[in-house]
């Protein structure tokens, strides 16, 4: 027992010593300095983005070639045709739907974990994030073995005799939604948990002494104080589900082609890089607009100001 402690201590000491030594190294310090963050952003975000913007104004030639002359035809193609517009609308629709389902589920879970004072709290939190140990693609493949014709669910239903024929669960919108909800849930639970756990119990008690029932205390005090957590949870959920790539590809049906896989197809199969670049930009601008309108509506600043005490 004591030897393991000793061991752990010595490991910790060694770790701290190494950390100190590294931080004393000027080159290491330079690489970690905040100013360098700007350089990273420039190299890995702004430059690729600029390339995409540039590409979106070029023309696709025969095969995989690109004709380097300025044109608006990629944007006009989006505006004139309804196919890609419908795909974006559908992606946003799936985003809204996922958010509407994830919000109550995630809030309830985050609220109770945040409120619980038991020694199990860290374990509950661990259960929420444990799925991140497995890559998303593998987690999504796991759903195939659960939802497929020969999957766990259908085998069980057939065994009980509730259904005579296997149900079509895989390659449906429901299947895709299920995959999205489960993988995105932690992104709602964690911010809600974080904001709930910072609320001082006495504040809620104070509301009760002044005549607020449990429900009114929740509406008047808990909910507004957790609002910043809710808003960030909604943003995460919407962005992740509207832009989902793996779940619609592996679990969704033929009508569930969302924007991310579609852009990938235009890039990788049609090799129409200019049009794919234009689609990407249009999507980014539209989602930026949606988020801007949402955060303005959500009074994010006021919510944050109230919670910043």
């Amino acid at each position: 027992m004591s030897s393991t402690n000793l061991n752990r201590d010595s490991i910790q000491d060694a770790f701290l010593a190494t950390k100190t030594r590294l931080m004393e190294n000027r080159r290491v310090r330079f690489l970690l300095s905040p100013g360098l963050g700007l350089v990273w952003t420039l190299v890995f975000l702004l430059i690729p983005l600029t390339i995409i913007v540039a590409f979106s104004f070029f023309r696709s030639g025969d095969g995989t070639t690109i004709i380097y002359e300025l044109t608006f035809e990629n944007y006009l193609r989006f505006i004139d045709g309804t196919v890609y517009q419908r795909i974006i609308v559908r992606s946003f629709g799936i985003g809204v739907l996922t958010t509407l389902i994830v919000l109550p589920l995630g809030y309830t879970l985050g609220y109770f974990i945040g409120r619980s004072k038991s020694k199990w709290t860290p374990i509950l939190l661990g259960l929420v994030v444990v799925q991140f140990w497995v890559p998303l693609v593998i987690r999504t493949y796991a759903w195939i073995t659960i939802l497929g014709r020969e999957g766990v669910v259908n085998n069980f239903l057939m065994w009980t005799g509730l259904v005579a024929e296997p149900l079509q669960l895989l390659y449906t919108t429901h299947g895709m939604l299920l995959g999205l909800i489960v993988s995105i849930l932690p992104f709602m639970v964690l911010p809600v948990y974080a904001s709930v756990s910072t609320i001082d119990e006495e504040i809620i008690q104070a509301a009760k002494t002044m005549g607020a029932s449990d429900i009114r205390a929740f509406v008047e005090v808990t909910l507004p104080l957790t609002w910043p957590g809710v808003v960030s949870g909604i943003l995460f959920t919407f962005i992740l589900s509207a832009g989902a790539f793996i779940a619609p590809e592996l679990l969704g049906g033929s009508s569930d082609r969302l924007i991310a896989p579609v852009i990938a197809t235009v890039f990788m199969q049609d090799f129409n890089w200019p049009f794919a670049a234009a689609l990407s930009l249009i999507y980014v601008l539209l989602i930026g607009l949606v988020l801007y309108l949402f955060t303005r509506k959500a009074d994010l600043e006021e919510a944050l100001e109230g919670a910043s005490l």
């Binding site: 504040i203 008690q205 002494t209 002044m210 607020a212 029932s213 100001e305 109230g306």
Partner: protein
């Protein structure tokens, strides 16, 4: 039927008895202070009255209504928390109006009360300010206004001044008393500060180890403490044990044979074992032998000069103790090693039954170091 009746309140957490059989009655309009060291059960008692904790046994009645099983939000009791517990996302006005809003009062009625409250706490114009923009003292006053705004039957305050600096505490103490006088609201005020408890309370309840040691007028508790604990807690004093003799001139005979003349106290008989408490400020120090009875010679062991006052630790062989005495810092200050005379008038000698001495010894030891010669 009293205004508030706490009957045999008991609260147990696991193996810990936080409050052990506390009974207390409060009359309408009274300002009661509850005082005791931390962990004595005073805050637990308060939370049980507020309905934020449920008693293990016992009952609480307010205006003849049994509150014991009533949830906090139906009790009409205002609470001022130690950390104020203001709503950070609501303005000062919204905080103050919260109780009225819960009672369905109209906006115009709420505005009217908020204005009235802000003028009472001297914070006119603070309606739209957020709590985190207020100073500690301002937040404290808002918390008080918020607890009073919905016209509760009773207001409970849990160490509301303990987070403030000494100067502010002083002025807010006066302010709180004024507000209570103006509104006439029955108030229970919990504190661990003896001075605060004595100066603010119409009546003072001294608690220790989950028990109510004494509930009395502050002057009575100070001069005629019910237990050694109360005597010790309400003021700086030195403890000496002895036997009460009332056959001739009433006196306490100490274990070493020395005699201390005292006044007769009701309920005490000849031969009772008593604990004598010599209050610092009631013992006088002189260079020459005074003409008074109860004069003892001793040697200054330590001097603690504090400006206006000076505290001497005087070793008195006759009493077998080191007595802590307050002297006048503006006159001659005696140096350590100096031989001085101590005297105390018989009516100033405080004594209680010495029972419970074992339990209280650790408190007594703070003031009295026995046999340090």
């Amino acid at each position: 039927m009293s205004f508030l009746e706490i009957n045999s309140l008991r609260k147990v957490f696991g193996d810990t008895v936080a409050v052990d059989d506390v009974s207390l009655t409060v009359e309408e309009g009274d300002f009661i202070t509850v005082v005791g060291p931390s962990g004595c059960g005073k805050t637990t008692t308060l939370l049980n009255v507020a309905g934020l904790q449920a008693p293990t046994s016992g009952s609480i009645e307010l205006k003849g209504r049994d509150l014991t099983d009533l949830p906090a939000y139906k009790r009409d009791i205002g609470v001022v928390f130690q950390d104020y517990a203001l709503f950070p996302h609501k303005t000062v006005a919204e905080n103050i109006a919260f109780g009225l809003k819960m009672r369905g009062e109209s906006q115009s009625k709420r505005d009217e009360v908020v204005e009235e409250m802000l003028s009472m706490i001297d914070l006119e114009g603070y309606e739209d300010v957020y709590p985190h923009q207020c100073s500690g003292g301002e937040q404290q006053r808002v918390a008080v206004a918020r607890a009073l705004a919905f016209d509760p039957d009773l207001v409970l305050m849990d160490e509301p001044l303990s987070n403030l600096d000494k100067k502010l505490r002083q002025s807010l103490r006066t302010e709180l008393k004024r507000i209570q006088r103006e509104t006439g609201v029955t108030t229970i005020y919990v504190t661990h500060n003896q001075t605060e408890a004595l100066s603010m309370g119409d009546k003072i309840a001294v608690m220790n180890n989950g028990n109510l040691e004494q509930f009395a007028d502050p002057k009575l508790a100070y001069e005629k403490p019910a237990s050694p604990f109360v005597a010790n807690f309400l003021g700086q004093s030195s403890r000496i044990d002895g036997t009460l003799r009332t056959d001739s001139a009433p006196h306490v005979q100490l274990e070493n044979g020395a005699i201390l003349e005292v006044d007769v106290r009701e309920g005490f008989d000849d031969g009772d074992a008593v604990a004598v408490f010599l209050r610092n400020e009631l013992v006088s120090v002189t260079e020459n032998q005074p003409a008074d009875v109860n004069a003892f010679t001793g040697r200054v062991a330590e001097v603690d000069y504090q400006g206006r006052d000076v505290i001497y630790y005087v070793t008195v062989p006759d009493l077998d103790v080191t007595v802590q005495v307050s002297g006048d810092g503006r006159g001659t200050v005696y140096e350590a090693g100096k031989k001085v005379w101590l005297s105390i008038a018989p009516e100033d000698v405080i004594y209680t039954a010495s029972e419970g001495r074992t339990g209280d010894q650790k408190h007594a030891a703070v003031q009295t170091s026995v046999g340090a010669q």
